[in-house]
């Protein structure tokens, strides 16, 4: 159990800069998720923490100690890989014991550690099997067992669930969360799946092209994303980003959104500093509205958009209603059967929770 500080870490492959001054710091017991699309450098960063890739610049500290020049085995970490990376010719027991044998742990202690891990992960009956005789989920368990017996300062997971089918993925996700709650070990977890990030993390680092876009707890990342990229990456369906104009009425900011075939919608009650309001007054901005901030309202409602619904997509618990506003397609999440396609509807917006972005650099305006 320990802290992890990544301080302006860089990674270069020849001329190619894969990570650009990444700084992340987490506390003991945190569950950090590195979230981003394929190729953004998540695995590279994880491998640098593990000591499997060299650090081209900056520093990485585990429990306050600089580990830049330590080999993986001296960093007191354990790692679970996407392909599980079980040793194919060894039994499950031998897989779990391998690291302990190298560290010359006594037979008695090894047996105890294997038993504890096997009990924890409910795989006692699998101990004498070879990896080829296991299902995907069972291999996943073994890989976790191998990590657990190490009792490391830091667990590293590289997309551990992406080779599993959908149902199993949800089960294992819960299991990992339970494991974290039980062991309390600091975890760094790589994924491209934003739902995994939301459900597991205590801290999320959203990455793009080797740069951390936003580092915060998941709810904050969801509610107040740092920029349009993060806003669109986190959440499904993703946040609506609607071009609008900022106006100031009676000293209060108002977002004016053009609706085709209807009056321009004017949304007030937006949380925005007076400096920002003054700076952006009369300019184009982007309004970020999560689909669930819409609700069906009466025609006279204030803070509402009266729109023509193009398409409705029932999902079961609720229905997605699609319409045009500000020149883009907007998705609203409404109760089932609340609206019908090709009819007019008035949708109120919880304006206190909408987020504004600069139209040019796409950063959040506060």
């Amino acid at each position: 159990m320990s802290t992890l500080e990544i301080d302006r870490a860089r990674k270069l492959y020849g001329e190619l800069e894969v990570l650009k001054e990444v700084s992340i710091s987490i506390g003991t017991g945190d569950f950090l998720v590195l979230l981003g699309p394929s190729g953004c450098g998540k695995s590279t960063l994880l491998n640098m923490i593990a000591g499997l890739e060299e650090i081209s610049g900056g520093e990485i500290r585990i429990a306050g100690k600089v580990v830049n020049d330590l080999s993986p085995k001296d960093r007191d970490i354990a790692m679970v890989f996407q392909s599980y990376a079980l040793y194919p010719t060894m039994t499950v027991r031998q897989n779990i014991e391998f690291g302990m044998k190298i560290r010359r742990v006594s037979q008695a202690e090894r047996d105890k550690a294997v038993k504890t891990a096997a009990d924890l992960l409910q795989m006692t009956h699998l101990l004498d099997r070879k990896p080829s005789q296991l299902s995907g989920g069972q291999r996943q368990r073994v890989a976790m067992g191998r990590a657990i017996v190490r009792q490391p300062k830091l667990f590293l997971f590289d997309e551990p669930l992406s080779n599993l089918d959908a149902k199993l993925r949800v089960d294992m996700r819960t299991e990992i969360k339970r494991l974290h709650a039980r062991l309390g070990t600091t975890i760094v977890y790589v994924t491209h799946d934003q739902i995994e990030a939301m459900t597991l993390a205590t801290r999320v680092a959203v990455m793009k092209d080797g740069v951390v876009q936003h580092l915060d707890d998941p709810q904050s990342v969801y509610d107040r994303p740092a920029n349009v990229y993060v806003a669109k990456f986190v959440g499904s369906p993703s946040m609506n980003i609607i071009p609008a104009r900022l106006e100031v009425e009676d000293g209060r900011p108002v977002a004016a959104i053009d609706i085709p075939g209807a009056a321009t919608a004017r949304l007030s009650g937006i949380s925005l500093s007076s400096q920002a309001a003054a700076k952006y007054a009369g300019r184009s901005i982007l309004v970020g509205i999560r689909p669930e901030l819409f609700s069906v309202a009466g025609e006279q409602a204030s803070q509402a958009l009266t729109v023509n619904i193009d398409v409705v997509e029932p999902t079961g618990p609720d229905t997605l209603a699609l319409f045009q506003a500000g020149g883009v397609e907007v998705t609203a999440r409404v109760p089932p059967r609340a609206v019908a396609a090709r009819t007019s509807a008035t949708l109120a917006v919880d304006t206190g929770k909408i987020v504004l972005f600069d139209a040019d650099n796409e950063q959040r305006i506060d």
Binding site: L86, F98, G99, R103
Partner: protein, 306 residues
């Protein structure tokens, strides 16, 4: 109804004949296939048949003109002569000492070339370094290098090392020459073993040697067998290197066989020649029978999936 049934019945007749004729064609096709396979196998095995029968015939019977037919009387005298009495121009000790030479030469050369190939393949795939691809390319080039091209420089090298004409010298030659092939085998096998396996082992604290011995080698059993069979066959059957780099007492069995067959005092002893040739071929045959299963498996199967 009745007419319907009738038409159905009349319809079914041509169908039935069709099926029958199809089955007949099928059977004829089968017969042709098996027939030609049998013919080719027989053709291919003919020399072996002649060798076996000739080796157990009496010399008089051979000279009487029966070359292909069954022996009238089976006798293993020719085998005994070939093994321990046949003359090769310098001595009359049979093939035995040269058979032992070949064993002393082949076994270490197979082990060393396979071992070095395994380490090479491991390094080239799992511990890549700048230029490792170039080195692999050069090794690959070695596979296409004909024997003749290396004989002179090799002779010079052996001379400098003081190994000229000796068995250790020949072991060195075969080991070096075989590395190109064995490296190729192991490289192609190890490339399909996921790199994450090595990473996991590094995190477990294993080093270069530990990973090789505990993880890579056990997973490489099929290709080890392939490499050993390949190398054994190549080295055991080699004549050119043996004739070029050894002399007299140190000759391998292939060279001795040639000498025995070419030495003629009086009547040519075909039965002894045949027995000698079969003795020289037996070890490779033995290796194939014992390990042939793995050979096919190793050539076709990729690495174990993680």
């Amino acid at each position: 109804m009745a007419s319907n049934a009738a038409s159905l019945a009349s319809n079914s007749t041509p169908l039935a004949t069709k099926a029958a004729s199809f089955r007949r064609q099928h059977r004829i096709g089968r017969a042709v296939i098996y027939g030609s396979l049998f013919f080719m196998a027989a053709f291919y095995l003919m020399p072996l048949w002649v060798m076996i029968t000739t080796s157990v015939k009496h010399l008089d019977e051979i000279y009487a003109g029966s070359f292909i037919g069954l022996p009238q009387q089976i006798s293993f005298d020719a085998w005994r002569t070939a093994w321990s009495e046949a003359c090769n121009g310098t001595a009359c000790k049979g093939l035995k000492p040269y058979f032992i030479n070949s064993l002393l030469l082949t076994i270490p050369a197979v082990i060393m070339s396979t071992g070095i190939g395994a380490i090479n393949g491991y390094v080239i795939t799992k511990w890549r370094f700048p230029g490792s691809n170039v080195i692999f390319g050069l090794l690959l080039f070695g596979c296409f290098l004909p024997f003749q091209a290396v004989i002179l420089p090799m002779a010079q090298t052996l001379g400098i090392l003081g190994l000229a004409g000796s068995l250790p010298g020949l072991v060195l030659v075969h080991t070096v020459y075989g590395i190109a092939f064995t490296t190729l085998f192991f490289r192609n096998y190890f490339v399909s073993i996921p790199d994450e396996l090595v990473r996991a082992a590094k995190i477990d604290g294993a080093g270069f040697i530990r990973i090789f011995v505990s993880i890579m080698l056990p997973a490489a059993l099929p290709i080890i067998v392939v490499s050993c069979i390949w190398q054994f066959t190549q080295i055991w059957n080699d004549y050119l290197f043996g004739a070029s780099f050894t002399a007299g007492e140190n000759a391998p069995i292939t060279v001795a066989l040639n000498n025995i067959v070419n030495v003629s005092m009086g009547r040519k002893e075909y039965n002894v020649d045949m027995a000698a040739a079969m003795i020289a071929a037996l070890p490779t045959l033995f290796v194939y029978v014992v390990a042939g299963r793995y050979f096919v498996r190793g050539l076709t199967a990729g690495a174990v999936k993680g």
